[in-house]
Symmetry: C2
Subunit: 196 residues, 2 copies
DNA sequence: CGCTATTGATAAGA
DNA sequence: TCTTATCAATAGCG
């Protein structure tokens, strides 16, 4: 048998749909439960899982050409952010003065392809990234620099904590840009023919 | 041997750090590459990966008690959103009129524990969810209803597409709330003692 | 839409 | 911090 037939479909459904909080679990979840005993581990878990989420997000964005933005507040209140492949689309669209530079064309196909090619052809992204950084706003640059020093992976990675109190509001405005973007989509949505 | 020692650390590092776009890949990525041949699969991939991301986000939020919000724009321009365990924290904080109801206390511990207990003790969340929904704003309710009809998993799942053009702006304002929240964190950040 | 095989993510340990 | 064992996520296919 490949897997036990659902004995209690409803319950199992509910349990499976939920994040593995453990209890009737039997594998790794059991270990995750022990986390409560070692509170120190939680921070590790958070970082690791955040990294995992970042990676998943990057995969989704790159593989499916989706623009995305994630903002996470840790329990301690620290803010972390992750933006679509193009910094210009989420982070860079906000100037240091807080003015929106562009309506965010939802990331041009050119950028996507460039990024894809970049990822496929060479592993030495540093140069290209730096070149892109030149076209970014001051904050965008700062982000890249800080991330590089922190040993982070790419420029989409923007840990708000690393930015400092000065740049954080700028990111906040970038979020507002995102909000406007959402709003625009709301307007553009004609009658939602529901293709599916 | 459990696993081959890194032959080319740098290259491998670069490859591993990047989303698996394939090329010199040899396992699953090879298949992912074939995606370009079958464009139809991309949508499937998007949905699947989005679900995965949702799940990861839920795990991160629940396990580490982190508040998070994700907004994804598919290539087609469709918007999808995912919010922290408490709808009140991200979605429900915006009234139908667009007024912020509360400063979003970053989700009370009470809510967290309640949610955790809820997840652990019983699989029948529907009732509790409905009860929670009663306390939500009109839009929040709508979200729950729509999600239920669409066969979605939980109330954190909020596909903007399903909301329709009327409710979408409301979510946009919710995003603004998030922005303000970020801003507040910027202010609260005293000198960033960098605990780590 | 669900199944299966493969890789990836991650919690614990050193 | 890095490694390892274990389970989960997911691409392809029926």
């Amino acid at each position: 048998m490949t897997q036990p037939p659902r004995l209690a479909p409803l319950v199992e459904q509910a349990t499976k749909t939920l994040p593995p909080l453990g209890k009737k679990t039997k594998g790794r979840q059991r270990r995750e439960n022990r986390r409560v005993e070692k509170k120190e581990s939680r921070q590790v878990t958070f970082s690791k899982r955040k990294s995992g989420l970042w990676k998943k997000a990057a995969e989704l964005a790159l593989l499916c050409r989706a623009s995305l933005a994630i903002v996470v507040f840790s329990e301690a209140g620290k803010a972390f952010a992750f933006g679509s492949p193009s910094t210009d689309a989420v982070l860079g669209c906000a100037d240091v003065d807080g003015n929106a530079l562009a309506p965010v064309p939802a990331a041009d196909d050119v950028e996507w392809e460039a990024l894809e090619t970049l990822c496929q052809e060479t592993g030495a992204m540093g140069v290209e990234v730096a070149a892109e950084a030149e076209r970014m706003s001051a904050v965008g640059k700062k982000v890249v620099e800080v991330q590089a020093q922190a040993g982070k992976r790419f420029w989409w990675e923007a840990d708000v904590e690393a930015l400092g109190e000065a740049e954080l509001p700028v990111f906040a405005r970038a979020l507002q840009r995102l909000r406007d973007n959402v709003r625009r989509h709301a307007d553009k949505m004609p009658s939602a023919p529901q293709p599916q």
